[in-house]
């Protein structure tokens, strides 16, 4: 892993998981990990292992639910799905994120113009 890969921004892993599940529907842990790696084009320096404590936290908040099911190869895997509360949470977080990102980008623009 290269030094130019960025660390996960604090709290953004949760958001990424929720968004993934919201878009793709129920998935098992490995699939979520792969998906996040693909979307971020392998630019994120995260261990796949860190996914699991994050999943537990989301579940404790009631934003995702779990159930055991058989995978395509017939192996018993835990499937994660976003809950209604999770979708609400995602919506709030998305708005917050956009607002924050907007403020930040405006801030950057402003400083350029002002100088």
């Amino acid at each position: 892993m290269g030094a130019d890969k960025s660390d996960v921004l604090h709290g953004t892993l949760d958001l990424m998981i929720l968004k993934t599940l919201d878009t793709l529907g129920p998935l098992h842990g490995y699939a979520i990990a792969r998906r996040i790696e693909q979307i971020s084009s392998d630019e994120l320096a995260i261990n796949q292992g860190t996914l699991y404590p994050a999943l537990l936290k989301l579940k404790q908040h009631g934003w995702i639910s779990t159930k055991w099911a058989a995978s395509s190869t017939g192996r018993r895997v835990k499937i994660y799905a976003i809950t209604r509360r999770g979708q609400q949470q995602l919506k709030t977080e998305e708005i917050d994120w956009h607002r924050a990102a907007g403020i930040l980008s405006r801030f950057f623009k402003l400083s350029k113009d002002a100088l």
Binding site: Y30, G49, Y52, P53, Q60, H61, V77, K78
Partner: protein, 878 residues
């Protein structure tokens, strides 16, 4: 909230959740490997890449678990589990430690529960801390009664006391409607309720006018109102007979009203105002002004007393005033005793702490390497200290549970024993008292665990690791601390032993004293005779009927009556003129008790006649007057002559020729308990009506004494009934077996002795276990060194001496300090001793001998083991 709940739930599914996570991770890795294989990697490479991408499995599991549970709690739980495991490895250690602490905690808690009730809990009056009892004092008495005129002057002149009332405790007979009922009550001034801050449940208090005119009005107690009048409000205005005088009920006392504190109060009537300064019959109760200190009020009253002394030297010479907080009055003499016992119990606890501390320390040293290794492996110093403390705290907590149980029984026993001597409120079990054992557990846990923990904190990791297994001796600091704890333990034990020894010795002395009566198989009762029996002839008839009625009961051997009996706190004294012996001073006779008794009194009491004869049927009113004196009187008046046949005369007898012939000498009796020396006493038969020529009347209180052939307690209902056959309106007090009446007099020293003795035995056991344990541990610790000495030619004797010397040196130092402690505390125990001083040499010597023996044995046993060490084995042990 939700995550917290989820974590809580997870606590109970730990195993399943762990398994599921492992499953999930395995599946994850399997899929990753499969994907990598599909990308064309070799099996090994596929696995390596998958593992790298995943990161540490262990770390993931650890992070997962931290999120799932409560990390801090869990590490504490781990410590507890670790502690329990280490207790199970050395159950002997754990059992000794727990028992030691439990005994200390139990003893302290049970005594504290009584102390709390008696000395700390609020009295049931508003702002009760400002209430003070006001006593008169004389040269010899600190809590004397005062006269009404003096009281009125105090009341008028004081500015530091807001409100002062006077009271006199009394007993009354309530007769007329229903069974006669004896009640305790008060004669008071009208300010009493105002001073105490209470008001009647119904009705009103009497006023100043009613008090002045001595109107026969009464307030009845809530209890009396309930049981006798069914809480009928119509009782107000009703007329009741109090000592055969009609009184109008004007009020009912508030429920639970007890005054003085814890003394049942069922009747309140106005106190008679006697216009005299020389008859003391009342006590004061007052409320201290807010913002006034007791000492300030005391100064003011001292000045008032001096003023009265100057104005009325005839009656008030040497009279002072003494303010006593009501709370102190309520706890009385037991106060000091309780504090001494509390101190002793706390000593036991401290001894236990020192002992357990030493054990933990010894174990800690043995575990030093283990702890050092754990530190080297990354356990924080704080974490290890926490673990040591957890260990000692869990020990203490287990001990406190056991101690609370002990306290539960202990305080019940204490209350039962104490209440025989002293009015005590019931001591209800309260949860707050549980705070005591828990607090003590925390305290003792810290006391025991902190020293070894501190040792650990200060120890340098490298030093410990560098010591190899063979050189595993304690550092100089540990040794010093261990020695210090040992010395403290020894000193405290010796102090406690001496205190208990002193009490034991004086108790044995008390027990050896012959009371002079045979209290077994006898029943006593007290009667307050009504006014009908003022007439001597009627009285004598009543007494004879009473005695005959009771004596006729099956199972009764003898029945007799004593007028003005000493066992009720009566016991009049008289002055006598004695034939052939000069009066002690020109205007006084010889003082002696004056006991008017019915014919079979000595038989019923079980008082043996030493010389001469008993009263008999010939001693009638017409016959020559006779008397029997006790040994003390005979000895004092006729030291070297026979008393029988001598004559005495009552000093104030109007008939100057009324000589009494002494016909017998009876053994001394200690009515008021073994502690009180007998006084001279003269007994005269009531049939000869000794009062007929005396200028005063007989006391209305008489005692009935019944000697039974069967168990006395079983006779009580029959005796009661036999009295009522003669007079159905005659109330009866204190109808009880005589040994119970006398036992109460001796109960107090017995309780203190028993308790302090128990504490001392516990302390001795704890201390000897401690001495043994420490000495044994020292031998184990010095095994190599001793082995080397043996190998180099030391004889087993020398080794024995070496070990003994070290152990005994600590004991000697400790015992010396303990002696000093006992001497310093001597004044506190002096009040409980009888016949010996607080520095009784033989007790000190005996205790030292006892302690020396125990300490020697406890040190010798391990030392002997040391002397028989096989040097070759000693080198091999780890």
């Amino acid at each position: 909230m939700r995550p917290l709940l989820a974590r809580l739930v997870a606590l109970f599914q730990r195993r399943r959740l762990d398994r599921e996570l492992a499953d999930e991770i395995a599946a994850h890795l399997e899929m990753a490997v499969a994907d990598n294989r599909a990308r064309g990697l070799s099996p090994e490479e596929a696995r390596r890449v998958a593992m790298t991408a995943f990161g540490g499995v262990l770390q993931t599991e650890e992070a997962y678990r931290d999120r799932q549970g409560f990390p801090l709690l869990e590490s504490m739980w781990q410590d507890v589990k670790y502690a329990v495991r280490s207790f199970r490895q050395s159950p002997g250690f754990a059992a000794i430690a727990v028992l030691t602490l439990a005994l200390g905690i139990g003893a302290t808690t049970s005594i504290f529960s009584v102390v709390q009730t008696l000395l700390i809990r609020r009295l049931p009056f508003p702002d009760a801390d400002r209430l003070v009892a006001v006593f008169a004092t004389s040269a010899t008495v600190r809590r004397d009664t005062t006269s009404f005129l003096d009281f009125s002057d105090w009341q008028r002149q004081t500015h530091t006391l807001s409100g002062m009332a006077a009271y006199r405790s009394d007993r009354f007979n309530i007769t007329g409607d229903g069974t006669p009922e004896p009640v305790r009550g008060l004669r008071v001034t009208h300010e009493l309720f105002w001073v105490l801050g209470v008001s009647p449940a119904i009705g009103r208090m009497f006023d100043q006018q009613e008090q002045h005119t001595a109107r026969p009005v009464a307030l009845i107690g809530y209890g009396l109102w309930t049981r006798r009048y069914g809480r009928d409000p119509q009782v107000l205005g009703k007329t009741i007979l109090v000592n055969e005088v009609s009184h109008v009920v004007i009020g009912v006392l508030p429920p639970g009203f007890e005054f003085p504190p814890y003394v049942a109060t069922d009747l309140v009537v106005p106190v008679p105002e006697r216009p005299s300064r020389s008859t003391g019959y009342i006590r004061g109760i007052a409320r201290l002004n807010s913002n006034t200190r007791l000492s300030v009020a005391q100064q003011e009253l001292d000045a008032i007393a001096r003023g009265l002394e100057a104005a009325f030297p005839g009656s008030n010479k040497g009279r002072g005033i003494n303010l006593v907080p009501l709370r102190e009055l309520a706890s009385g003499e037991v106060r000091v005793a309780l504090l001494v016992l509390l101190g002793a119990a706390f000593l036991v606890l401290l001894i236990g702490c020192a002992n357990v501390g030493n054990l933990v320390l010894a174990k800690g040293i043995a575990r030093q390497r283990e702890l050092a290794v754990r530190r080297a492996l990354g356990a924080g110093r704080g974490r290890l200290v926490r673990q040591l403390l957890t260990e000692s705290l869990s020990l203490a907590l287990i001990a406190s549970a056991l101690g609370a149980l002990l306290a539960f029984w202990g305080s019940a026993f204490l209350v039962t024993s104490l209440s025989q001597r002293f009015p005590l409120p019931p001591i209800a079990f309260s949860w707050t008292i549980l705070a005591v054992p828990i607090g003590l557990a925390a305290l003792s846990g810290l006391l025991c665990g902190l020293p070894p923990a501190l040792m650990l904190w200060r120890s340098r990791l490298n030093d410990t690791l560098k010591q190899d297994a063979r050189n595993q001796s304690a550092g100089i600091n540990e040794q010093r601390l261990g020695n210090l704890l040992m010395v403290a333990e020894t000193a405290l034990t010796v102090t406690l032993l001496i205190g208990a020894g002193l009490l034991l010795k004086s108790f044995i002395r008390l027990q050896r004293i012959d009371l002079g009566v045979n209290p077994r198989e006898a029943v006593t009762a007290n009667l307050v005779l009504s006014k009908r029996y003022l007439d001597p002839a009627r009285r004598e008839l009543f007494v004879r009927q009473l005695v005959d009625s009771v004596a006729a009961l099956p199972g009764v051997l003898d029945a007799a009556v004593h007028t003005d009996p000493p066992f009720l706190g009566g016991g009049s004294q008289e002055t006598f003129t004695v034939e052939d012996v000069a009066d002690p001073s020109p205007d006084r006779g010889h003082v002696a008790g004056f006991d008017v008794v019915s014919g079979n009194f000595f038989g019923a009491m079980g008082m043996p006649i030493a010389r001469g004869r008993d009263f008999d049927a010939q001693d009638t009113a017409a016959a020559p007057s006779v008397a029997i004196v006790n040994e003390t009187m005979a000895r004092r008046l006729w030291p070297d002559r026979e008393a029988v046949g001598k004559h005495v005369r009552l000093y104030y007898d109007k008939d100057r020729q009324h000589w009494l012939t002494i016909v017998g000498v009876v053994r001394d009796v200690r009515y008021r308990g073994a502690r009180i020396e007998p006084i001279p006493q003269a007994f005269v038969p009531s049939r000869q009506n000794p009062y007929r020529t005396l200028p005063y009347v007989q006391s209305p209180v008489i005692a009935l004494v019944v000697r039974t052939a069967v168990k006395p307690a079983t006779m009580i209902p029959a005796v009661q009934a036999a009295i009522w056959v003669v007079d159905k309106d005659q109330p009866v007090w204190n109808l009880q077996p005589m040994d119970q009446a006398l036992w109460e007099a001796a109960a107090e020293p017995r309780i203190y002795m028993a308790l302090l003795g128990t504490f001392a035995v516990i302390a001795l056991i704890i201390a000897s276990a401690g001495i043994y344990g420490l000495s044994a541990y020292a031998v184990v610790r010095r095994r190599q060194e001793l082995g080397i000495r043996l190998a180099l030619g030391a004889t087993p004797r020398q080794i024995l001496a070496l070990v003994l010397r070290h152990g005994m040196f600590l004991n000697v130092v400790g015992a010396g300090l303990g002696l000093a402690g006992a001497l310093a505390l001597g004044r506190t125990v002096a009040g409980f001793l009888y016949g010996i001083t607080a520095t009784d040499a033989s007790t000190f010597l005996g205790v030292l001998l006892l302690f020396a023996t125990v300490a020697l044995v406890a040190t010798y046993l391990p030392a002997r083991r040391a002397a028989t060490i096989d040097p070759s084995l000693a080198f091999r042990t780890d």
